[in-house]
């Protein structure tokens, strides 16, 4: 007897197994069969390195889609067009911005979309566009990476300059400056005592100056008092003295006029004689000085002359006991 029912049973079992396998795969893949999606284009300036197909697209930190394709922009090779697919319920309105971000330091990139203002119009496709376009903006990481080569070059140049600055000569010079500064501060510290002494002396001088000013003020007051009380008497005495002097001068003038001839003779003749007498006295004084000097040294020399060996021109020698 032939068993036919077993084939139906095996086939049913296999179909059931395959259906379960598909359901398991769908469950594992978390495929949302009911989900609706919208496609957008994002144009980035410059490199999008680290971004690949299937890279995740976040909206305010929530994964809402993925990257479908990455190509150069059709009309501008400087830009990169990234085709993304987002869930339909994501509110991509006018003013939304897309940025390229990186996960830590791994280099894996993703796209972060920041929504536009609430109540804004939804982005729609234009006539010459394949998909609606989300405006891109440069992220901080992009700016850093773009400027990193320049920063590195500048850092290397700075290191070279620092190496030049810190050569042995400059280090020695800086060392000397530090030593000098140390000495200067030490001297300054020592000089503080002197400064204090100077300040103390200046204070003493100011005190004396104040006393002197007080004395001068008192003197001025005394002078004022003197002028007020005794000035009249002093002026009268001065006038009297001037009158007496005038009288005396008049008398002298008369005396000179009466003896003009004698005075002229005295001035013209006697005064020069006095001068000559002074000259003679000076000469006599010099002679006496010489004589006294010789007398002190050798009194016998005055009478017998000095005993010295005189030079004889004929023998060309100094002869002892010369005349």
């Amino acid at each position: 007897m032939e068993t036919r029912a077993s084939h139906v049973l095996v086939g049913s079992f296999v179909l059931l197994f395959l259906a379960g396998l598909v359901a398991f795969a769908i469950w594992i893949a978390k495929v949302d069969l009911d989900a609706e999606y919208r496609d957008y284009d994002i144009y980035f300036d410059g490199s999008v390195s680290g971004l690949y197909k299937r890279s995740i697209v976040y909206y305010s930190g929530i994964p809402v889609g993925d990257v479908r394709d990455i190509t150069l922009a059709p009309h501008d090779a400087q830009k990169v067009r990234v085709w993304v697919r987002l869930r339909a319920e994501v509110p991509v309105t006018e003013g939304a911005k897309a940025r390229l971000e990186f996960q830590g330091l791994t280099g894996v990139a993703y796209i972060e979309i920041k929504g536009g203002p609430p109540g804004g119009a939804t982005i729609v496709v234009e006539e010459d566009q394949e998909r609606p376009i989300i405006e891109a903006e440069a992220s901080a990481f992009q700016a850093v990476f773009e400027s990193a080569p320049n920063l590195l070059n500048e850092a290397i140049a700075a290191v070279v300059q620092i190496q030049k600055l810190l050569d042995d000569d400059n280090i020695l010079a800086v060392s000397n400056i530090l030593k000098n500064t140390d000495g200067l501060t030490a001297n300054l510290a020592r000089g503080t005592n002197d400064i204090e002494q100077v300040v103390a002396e200046a204070r003493a001088v100011l005190i004396k100056a104040t006393d002197a000013a007080d004395n001068i003020s008192k003197l001025a007051a005394s002078g004022n008092e003197l002028l007020e009380h005794d000035a009249g008497r002093l002026v009268n005495e001065a006038v009297g003295a001037m009158q007496a002097a005038t009288t005396m001068i008049n008398r002298i003038d008369g005396l000179v006029a009466a003896n003009e001839g004698n005075i002229t003779q005295f001035v013209g003749g006697s005064l020069p004689e006095v001068s000559r007498m002074i000259v003679d006295l000076r000469a006599t004084s010099q002679s006496l000085s010489r004589l006294m000097k010789r007398l002190e040294q050798d009194p016998a020399e005055i009478i017998f002359g000095i005993k010295e060996a005189k030079y004889d021109l004929k023998s060309r020698k100094a002869k002892e006991g010369g005349k």
């Binding site: 005064l271 020069p272 001068s275 000559r276 002074i278 000259v279 000076r282 000469a283 010099q286 009478i303 017998f304 010295e308 060996a309 005189k310 030079y311 004889d312 021109l313 004929k314 060309r316 100094a318 002869k319 010369g322 005349k323």
Partner: protein, 214 residues
């Protein structure tokens, strides 16, 4: 009393006698004086010139002589810093007087300056000229042909109005001695003095204008 008086008289007579004997010393021969010295003078060889009426008046001080050459002996400088005087030769007057007269004569002949010296103190002068004689000596050489005389004088021109020292130059001359006797030596001195006079006369002509016109 009489004895005491007689004793005083004897003492007085003895003292007076001793003084009289001393006073006669120069008249008494005290040994062999030998031949008399030859007496020489310094004399500027040009004729006298009338003083300028417009030139400045300068009073000339008596020269100051360094020790060793001051006197009437003709100074000799020997090796080893020895000094002496020439045997048998003497200056006619004190050397300072001879130098002063020579300088005045030379300047009066070669400049337009009116020079007055002692005796002219009552004349108002513009400047005073001081003279310091550093050398006026005979210097024997190794041989007679190398004998020479040296003369060095330093002048100080002082303006009397403000007592300012206008100049202070020194003039030095060496002159060879032609003949080895007193006359030859003094001739060399005169030649050196004349040679120096040209230099200091030229100098005074240049500076005399600063003494004003009296």
């Amino acid at each position: 009393m009489n004895l005491h008086f007689a004793k005083n008289i004897k003492t007085l007579t003895s003292v007076v006698g001793l003084f009289a004997l001393t006073a006669c010393g120069p008249l008494i021969s005290l040994g062999n004086d030998g031949p008399a010295d030859e007496v020489f003078s310094l004399r500027y060889p040009a004729a006298f010139k009338n003083a300028s009426a417009t030139g400045p008046i300068i009073y000339v001080d008596g020269p100051q002589l360094v020790e060793g050459i001051d006197g009437r002996g003709v100074a000799v400088r020997l090796a080893g810093n020895k000094r002496t005087v020439l045997e048998g030769a003497a200056w006619a007057a004190h050397l300072s007087d001879l130098v002063r007269d020579y300088v005045i004569h030379a300047l009066a002949s070669q400049t337009n300056v009116n020079l007055v010296s002692e005796g002219g103190l009552d004349i108002e002068a513009g400047c005073r000229l001081g003279i310091k004689v550093w050398a006026m000596e005979f210097v024997p050489g190794k041989s007679a042909s190398e004998d020479q005389v040296q003369v060095a004088m330093q002048f100080s021109l002082v303006r009397l109005a403000d007592s300012k020292l206008l100049a202070h130059p020194t003039f030095s001359k060496n002159e060879a001695v032609i003949s080895s006797d007193g006359s030859g030596v003094v001739a060399a001195f005169n030649a050196a003095m004349e040679s120096a006079s040209h230099d200091y006369s030229r100098w005074l002509n240049e500076r005399a204008g600063e003494c004003g016109r009296n």
